[in-house]
Symmetry: C2
Subunit: 335 residues, 2 copies
DNA sequence: ATGAAAGCGCTAACAT
DNA sequence: ATGTTAGCGCTTTCAT
């Protein structure tokens, strides 16, 4: 079952390998007749190009690294779907790594990807600044980096795909107010994640605008897990602060919060409405279904892949920021 | 920022590339002194081997394809974690594809992987027989295939990683009976999935053993989604068959079922207990938490990767079946 | 112990 | 329009 190479085709047709190569590449400098013969033979003998040889020739690894913070929610899977959708047809392979929300693991992952000679890395960071030195070094070495969702702090000029956290969270909070909620608690992610700050800012702005602000309503979590969401509610209850709704930084935190509420026999949305930010399928499989700001995850992945291709094509292309629209989807948890 | 090659090292140290190569490979035929100089220089100049060149030389793509039915639940992500854990350190890249429970998409995915010249494919099938011809052809061509979780029918001799569905489901059903349930409904997956049949058989055996069998208690679903789980409960209710518990084929179906129950104000586990098979994090984030048979997903991925390496090392190694232990984890949904 | 040379599969100058 | 040659980075015979 030996693989057929252009050499075999050359021998078979008594032509040189260059002619075979040219015919296969649709080069104009090849007789129409000859091209046809080559194509037929290729088909007949089952020729398939050797990507490795191509890559060696072109000096690329045709491998893109991806770093995501977690793979428990479908968030990353959806974005990956978009990335793959763009990159697979072009012959790119992926090395997907997950950091488990740990900057140190993220660092190791970046190192691993470097060892893989990746042509570029697409990243959703787990800490705003911790690995900046690595990002900076890699970019200096000519490895294109593209960020999505969670991005590094502004000291780094990078290509990125994001939604406007500030605006979207403002909209969501305003929506909660319109539905009659007045004591809106916020489960904010760790402040080492820029988006957590942005979303909290949107939240604060609206509460201030409606004169409903109260620092006691904000719980900053230490991490991003389901348990952190539960803890946040425990804390709210301990603080004895009144609240009739919760806006959580992410689906995971929101669902943890919902569980804590249900355990305390607090009705959703009767007693407390819950809303979140991200928009994974998770929000539709919990009961009651969760109102949330849905990010266009697949499209974000596609955009990130496109930005990567842009950078690969032209190393010195200027960094671009793609701003995607998020939409508020109302579900049972706030109705 | 040009990459350093062994050529550069050779020039730098006035040695031949062969000596450099040997030194780097710890070949005995190289002066200790020389080796040290080479290693130092490599370190100093920042030499990194070019994997593509290695691959071309060895005739491998160092790429493994993975086909999974879905990426919405963390099931596949966990298995992938195990696969990556074994394969990444060895320099293997992955091309991960998802079939969306559609045999036709699975077929396309296999084709794509073939185009990638993968060294092997690890698969969780979405249909017991539909793509048998492709599996067969690929294996005949010398591409190692390893299956996990859902496997093709017995007409194919393949390496695989599985749990004993029949036994595990028996245990689960017996457990439900021990907790006092007598009318146990079963939401069975499509019969184009071997495991659905196995688990249903385990279920039937125990019900028969305790004289509790009733064909009306079984709902065979058309698919594997959350919605199919909901529908199943609707059907049970329409049939007006009494039931005090549900054993679902998967977490997804179980959670869909739970939602339907809650919508009808049926208490879990008060009125109806719910249990499932799979063991993803999903079972711990729903309310109430879901009792389930937990498969050791990460370990399954590792085992699948090991089987793959075995086949890659020796194309004609006999096919092996790794049987993993699943454990029953009791949670609130049945207590 | 070291070097020279061939070759993995393919493309692209450079002939002709 | 087709062929010859070199070379991508590395390993590996075969010499020395």
């Amino acid at each position: 079952m030996k693989r057929i190479t252009i050499k075999d085709l050359a021998k078979f047709l008594s032509l040189s390998t260059s002619t075979i190569s040219r015919a296969l590449l649709d080069d104009k400098n090849v007789n129409l007749e000859t091209r046809k013969r080559v194509l037929d033979a290729a088909d007949q003998l089952g020729y398939k190009p050797n990507l490795t040889a191509l890559n060696l020739k072109s000096g690329q690894s045709k491998t893109i690294g991806v770093v995501v913070p977690e793979m428990i929610t479908p968030f990353s899977a959806k974005v990956l779907e978009g990335i793959q959708h763009v990159l697979y047809p072009l012959g790119y392979r992926l090395v997907i790594t997950q950091s488990d929300e740990n900057p140190l693991i993220e660092r190791k992952n970046l190192q691993l990807l470097e060892d893989f000679n990746v042509d570029g890395i697409i990243i959703n960071v787990c800490h705003e600044t911790y690995n900046n030195d690595v990002y900076r070094r890699m970019m200096a070495q000519g490895t294109p980096l593209v960020f999505f969702d969670r991005i590094p702090d502004k000291s780094l000029d990078v290509s990125k795909v994001v939604v406007d956290d500030y605006i979207s969270s403002s909209l969501l909070v305003e929506y909660l107010i319109k539905t009659g909620r007045k004591r809106i608690a916020h489960i904010m992610g760790p402040s080492t994640i820029r988006n957590a700050i942005e979303r909290a800012n949107g939240y604060k702005r609206i509460l201030t605008k409606y004169n409903l602000a109260d620092e006691n309503l904000i719980i900053k979590t230490e991490g991003m897990s389901f348990e952190h969401g539960k803890d946040a509610v425990q804390q709210l209850l301990q603080r004895k602060v009144e609240f009739d709704s919760i806006f959580a930084f992410s689906d995971t935190l929101a669902i943890g919060a919902m569980n804590a509420l249900l355990e305390h026999n607090i009705k959703i949305p009767g007693d407390v409405a819950v809303a979140s930010f991200s928009g994974t399928e998770l929000s539709t499989i919990v009961y009651p279904q969760l109102t949330s700001v849905q990010q266009p995850l697949v499209a974000m992945g596609e955009a990130a892949a496109e930005l990567m291709l842009e950078k690969i094509k032209n190393r010195s292309a200027p960094c671009r920021t793609v701003l995607m629209d998020a939409v508020l989807v109302q579900r049972a948890s706030t109705l």
